[in-house]
Amino acid sequence: MAKILTVDDSRSIRQMVSLTLRTAGYDVVEAADGVEALEYASRNSVDLAIIDVNMPRLDGIALTRKLRELANWRFTPILILTTESSQERKQEGRAAGATGWIVKPFDPDSLLATIRKVMR
């Protein structure tokens, strides 16, 4: 089963993301912020990470940058979740090593359609 890491400080968004993914048959690991996610990522590999941009302690952009430094995360698809539809944020994400982005708000169907773009 493909494993997905979802990182978001908002409980409701995190729950919606993980329930949607679980219902679609994916294995989901949740993290409430960048530090938690990085801690997990340093010991585990996943098939995809979905990361919120705005988070306390370690934000999504910085997290993405740090993840790309990990040997087992070099080619892992990383999607950043952002409410900003501005070009600036997306570019920041790409520069940090993100594979792509998902613009909030999104509904479960569009989330699944998007992640299928990067899941084998």
């Binding site: 968004i13 698809p77 790409r94 708000p105 999104f106 899941m119």
Partner: protein, 693 residues
Amino acid sequence: MTIDPRQFHQVFFEESFEGLEAMEQALLTATPGQVEAETINAIFRVAHTIKGGAATFGFERIAALAHRLETLLDQMRAGKRLLDEPAIELLLGGVDLIRAMIEGARQGIGIDDEAQVGYISRLEQAIKGEAISPTPLPSAVTARPEPAPKAPAPGWRIRFRPDPSILAHGNDVVLMFRELSGLGDFQVKADLSALPSLPELEVERCYLAWQAELRGAVERRAVEEVFEWVADESELEILPIQGRGLPQPAAPVTDEAVPSGAGEAVPAVAVPKAATLQEAVRRVAAEPGGSIRVSIEKVDALVDLVGELVITQSMLSRLKGAVVGELGERLVAGLNQLERHTRNLQDSVLGMRMLPIAFVFNRFPRMVRDLAAGLGKQVVLEVQGESTEIDKTVMEAIGDPLMHLVRNAIDHGLEQPQERRSAGKPAAGRLSLSARHRSGSIYVEVRDDGRGIDPAKILDAARAKGLLSGDAPVDAEAALNLLFHPGFSTAAEVSDISGRGVGLDVVNRNVRALGGSVGISSDLGRGTLFTLRLPLTLAILDGQLVQVGGSNYILPLEAIVETIRLEPARLSSLAHWLELYLLRDDYIPVIHLARLFQCREAACERPLVVIVGYEGHRVGLVVEQLLHQQQVVIKSLESNFWKVEGISAATILGDGTVGLILDISGLIQIAGRVLGETTGWRPHRTASSEARP
């Protein structure tokens, strides 16, 4: 995919309230003009989180307001504005308004528009006050704009040369192509011209380019979306295929003149791309990923199959002695292993049907609260052993009986607060629900500390109803058991006897139908206890094989108290198949099973009497021989044959023959009936006759 975002609303509301609380606290404790950056960041994140959630869950006005607050806070974060006293006041107003709007959303009511409009205009002024133009609302806040309908081309010619670093971002060209092939007929050719010589080749860089054709009524936007994340760093060209039309004769083509010179303008083809997309989604969804939601029928089919496997296994294990020598040893080893695996498999499969009893217990806190409030009583509910696992079928069947017992306890068992106080009890009544697993059964108890049941009143009512004749003394326990009598519950007088008779016969019948039993004990003035004994599972049974009339029957192992050799001198005959037997100092009824079932009585030198007990009643069963003990898979006799008195179910034995499972409580009832007719005896309980645990 049917995920309803509404199910996350509650979490969103709670999380927003928590956030607003934190924001309010931070604002209230802040020193105006000297607020630390991290405090502003924290407040900003609250607004940001609420904005994201509100937009996702469809609360657009909340999202819009949160967005404006976020804009203002962003100015402070950037040092363009101070978090001074007026700003704090303004932000606190925002906290209040958002809180009211979320509360409104939770209750499904709108919020006073004027308050909102007034506040928002103040906020807008503040934002503009620093001569910084407000950032436009992202499309997030309003509905996502539908893409302008564009005439689909017969297809697209795509030229794609990604940046060599594309792989380092986790992008995968193969996946993009997979997506494109889901949109239409997709053909691709790789361009190897940029491929360096082997020594210069860096394996993590992408040197390839592609030329592709996507045929079908696909909107340009759909193609662009595939390349959305990489377009900025790639050379990408998406051009409509010209000239050659789509091989779709049925498609109506408009007669409108094609605007000359417009590269993308092609005849409109009204073929929805939805079909191919749907198909692609279905294909992806069908990929193995594994769900664990399985219908109970499938589990039951599995239970059945495993049952058959157990039978086959026990047939095979009879071969153990059949082969001698080394081959025989290997056979025995293999069969032992098979037996172990089969047993494990059976346990696992039966475990799939087990659920914690909390599923039933969980409905009671609310029900008890409502009932107690309605009656003006105070009730403290205690629940124990809610993690005890129980068969799903059993659980479904005990919901109503339990509900009934709980309702009765609150309605009739527990007293009004003042009545309790004057009886020297705490004003609040205690109701406890518990479940535990003991020796192959589940025990569920419903206990209250109410007024209890007066046996004398039950006896009076029973006599008045004609259920009891004469003035023969009846012990308290027997009197309480009268409450389960079907005739009793219909009597109008029962409500005076704390109403405990109402429907108790139904409770009793339902539990018995499961192969369980209901016990009652009561202490006048102190409370009442109902105990439900339930089978752990309905699918298997630990059985003792016995021989009767040359055939095999199965006795539930847990019912057997002891086995003695029949001494004919101790028998006194009552009926053809029923006799009384002097067991030590007590007479117990003895059933000649072969005679009862009218089968040929096999010549037997020394018959045995198996004493079985059920709910304190004892009866002896005359059998020819005790065979081995084994676990048997229960097959309903009723659904495969028809109901036979004295038989509860059937099974298939190791040699392939059918074995009938004896219905102990049924046999005791039959014996009691006949004994009652001939001697006035009725089954009675003695302390020593408890079934062996």
